[in-house]
Structure formats: structure tokens, C-alpha cells
């Protein structure tokens, strides 16, 4: 996937969408579409899903021999994320941009706290697009551009979240 330079606004919304979607990965908007192939958590490591500095700091706060604190936190995050995605979809149907921006910021905080790098970055973009700004939060964009960008971004964000969720579930399954 070609990354859009953070300093350059896309010349057209279509270009931005193509940059976001890429060409080689299938879209996964629905959780039910994810594959069930068991994969070692380590295989995800180079994909930038998890910031291990942050996640390891979280694990260090667990009691010895027991990951109950971090596990419950992560599962709470899953619940929070699912609810937030639902709210995002509702807000998108109404084209409620301020609400989309707020929801993006909200999920950005907890995603960052757990070290979920890609989800956090997409949440930040949503925050900006909802404010009718470009991905870097600098230049203005139109409502139509925001709608198109957000529509594609929600698909991407869901895919990134599914990836992170799979990684974390494999990680904690391996701790039992």
C-alpha cells in the first residue's frame, strides 16, 4: 500500500482513496469475513500492528505469573472498539462529521494506550477528516471529500482493528 506523505494533501479524493485502499489487499468491512487461519503472534510483529514498547509496559503492570490486568484491559478495549465502530457507522449514515471526529479521537486514545499503532493512526486521520482537514490536519477539505475519505478509512480501520484483535487473542491464548 502506498502511504500518503503526511505533508502532501491528495490532489483528488479519488487519489486519496486509492492510496488508502491499496490494490493488493481485500476489503474487510465485516468481522465475519476474517479468516480463521491460526497464526503465530510473532508473524505479525514486523507488520507494525503493535508498538511493543507501549504494550510491554502494559504487561509489566501485570502481577507476576498472571496477565489478568492486561488481559481484562484488552478485552475491555475490544468491547469499547466494537461499540465505537457501531457509533462511527451511525454517525457516517448521518454524515455527522463532528461526531466522527470525536469518535476518532476517543478511540485514538485507548488504541495508543495499548500500543495499537495502525488503529491509532487511522483514528487520528478520522479525527482530522471529521474536522474537514486533510490527513495531517493542516489543509481544509470539502464535505464531499471528507465523506469519501472517511468512507474508505472506516473500511481500512476495521481491517487494522481485526488484525490487532487477532494478534492480541493469539498472544493471550499463548499465555494460558
Amino acid at each position: 500500500m502506498t502511504a500518503t506523505s503526511p505533508t502532501q494533501a491528495p490532489s483528488t479524493a479519488e487519489t486519496a482513496i486509492n492510496n488508502i485502499k491499496g490494490t493488493e489487499e481485500p476489503e474487510v468491512a465485516d468481522k465475519g469475513a476474517e479468516t480463521e487461519t491460526e497464526t503465530d503472534a510473532d508473524e505479525f510483529e514486523d507488520n507494525g500492528i503493535i508498538d511493543h514498547t507501549t504494550f510491554d509496559q502494559l504487561l509489566e503492570m501485570d502481577d507476576e505469573e498472571d496477565h489478568e490486568f492486561s488481559r481484562s484491559l484488552v478485552w475491555n478495549y475490544f468491547e469499547q472498539a466494537e461499540k465505537t465502530f457501531e457509533d462511527m457507522n451511525n454517525a457516517m449514515e448521518k454524515l455527522d462529521f463532528p461526531d466522527l471526529s470525536r469518535l476518532g479521537h476517543f478511540l485514538k486514545g485507548s488504541s495508543a494506550a495499548l500500543g495499537l499503532t495502525k488503529v491509532k493512526e487511522s483514528c487520528e486521520k478520522l479525527q482530522h477528516y471529521g474536522n474537514r482537514k486533510d490527513a495531517a490536519g493542516v489543509n481544509n477539505i470539502t464535505n464531499e471529500e471528507a465523506e469519501t475519505l472517511i468512507s474508505a478509512l472506516l473500511v481500512q480501520m476495521r481491517r487494522e482493528y481485526n488484525e490487532a484483535e487477532s494478534y492480541l487473542k493469539v498472544f493471550y491464548d499463548g499465555q494460558e
Binding site: 478495549y77 469499547q80 485514538k108 494506550a113
Partner: protein, 161 residues
């Protein structure tokens, strides 16, 4: 200058040395339960030498209500919250108006911003409204400790003058 004359009411301290030994009461304000859990766990695990008690508020409104009736030594404040932002809440604390009163002790309580909104302009704003420091999310333990110790040293300095 005595402690009483600075604060206008009696504190249970006779000397700055006792402030070193007395543990502090902290309020955490954040509308995101995940962030609240992480920060409270950090304090519980890594700050037992400093923190006696932690109280959690999920909004600026709740925080102001609590600050009207209970004294705190430190506030860790999220910035982007609905209804009242962390900046607005801090302004209300510092202004301590009759419409939005807090206990006199709390009017100058150290407030540390804990936020992903941590650019240079935003940090300048936090300082302008009376926050003592800003810790970025995700929180790095050493930076949180440095911010808390710096904020508490600022209080000690005032008490010693």
C-alpha cells in the same frame, strides 16, 4: 511565612519535611475507561512511594463537583473530553468563581495534562491556563514520574517561601 497564612486554613503539616513524607491524594480525570484503568494501575504499581489515594472522574463536570467538597494534592487531567474539556475544567478550577466554586486548597492544586494533543501550541495553552506540565499518551512511566515530582516540588517551593 507559615503554611496557614498561605492557604488561609489549617493543613496537617508543620514543616516542608513532613510534605516529603506525606503521601498525596490524586484525582484522575478522563472520559475513556481504558485510559483511566491504565493510569490508575501505573500509580498503584509504580508510585506507592508518593500516592496515598487515587480518585477517578469521568468528566470535567464531575471533577469540579468533587473539588467543591474534597481536597486533592494533584490532578491528572485528560484534555479532549465532551461537555467540559480539560482546559475549560482547569480554567474553572483556577478562577474558582461563585458560579463554579472549588475548595480554596484546590484552586492552586497542580494539574498535569495527560493527552495525545501534545503539540507545542497546545502545551503553551496548557501552561497559560495554569497547568504545570503535559504528559503525552501513550504514557511513558519515567515522564509521568518526572512530571509528578516536578509538580510536587513546585508546591513544596511555595510552602517553603
Amino acid at each position: 511565612m507559615s503554611v496557614d497564612s498561605i492557604h488561609g486554613h489549617a493543613l496537617r503539616l508543620d514543616s516542608p519535611l513532613q510534605l516529603d513524607q506525606r503521601k498525596i491524594k490524586v484525582m484522575i480525570v478522563d472520559d475513556n475507561s481504558i485510559n483511566l484503568s491504565i493510569l490508575s494501575r501505573m500509580l498503584e504499581k509504580h508510585f506507592t512511594d508518593i500516592v496515598q489515594l487515587t480518585v477517578f472522574m469521568t468528566s470535567g463536570v464531575e471533577a469540579l463537583q468533587r473539588l467543591a467538597t474534597e481536597e486533592f494534592d494533584l490532578i491528572l487531567m485528560d484534555i479532549d473530553m465532551p461537555v467540559l474539556t480539560g482546559v475549560q475544567t482547569t480554567v474553572a478550577i483556577r478562577q474558582n468563581t461563585s458560579e463554579c466554586p472549588v475548595l480554596e486548597h484546590n484552586q492552586n492544586v497542580p494539574i498535569i495534562a495527560v493527552t495525545t494533543s501534545d503539540g507545542a501550541e497546545q502545551r503553551a495553552l496548557y501552561q497559560q491556563v495554569g497547568m504545570s506540565d503535559c504528559v503525552s499518551k501513550p504514557i511513558v512511566l519515567s515522564k509521568l514520574r518526572s512530571a509528578i515530582e516536578g509538580a510536587m516540588k513546585g508546591i513544596k517551593r511555595v510552602l517553603c517561601e
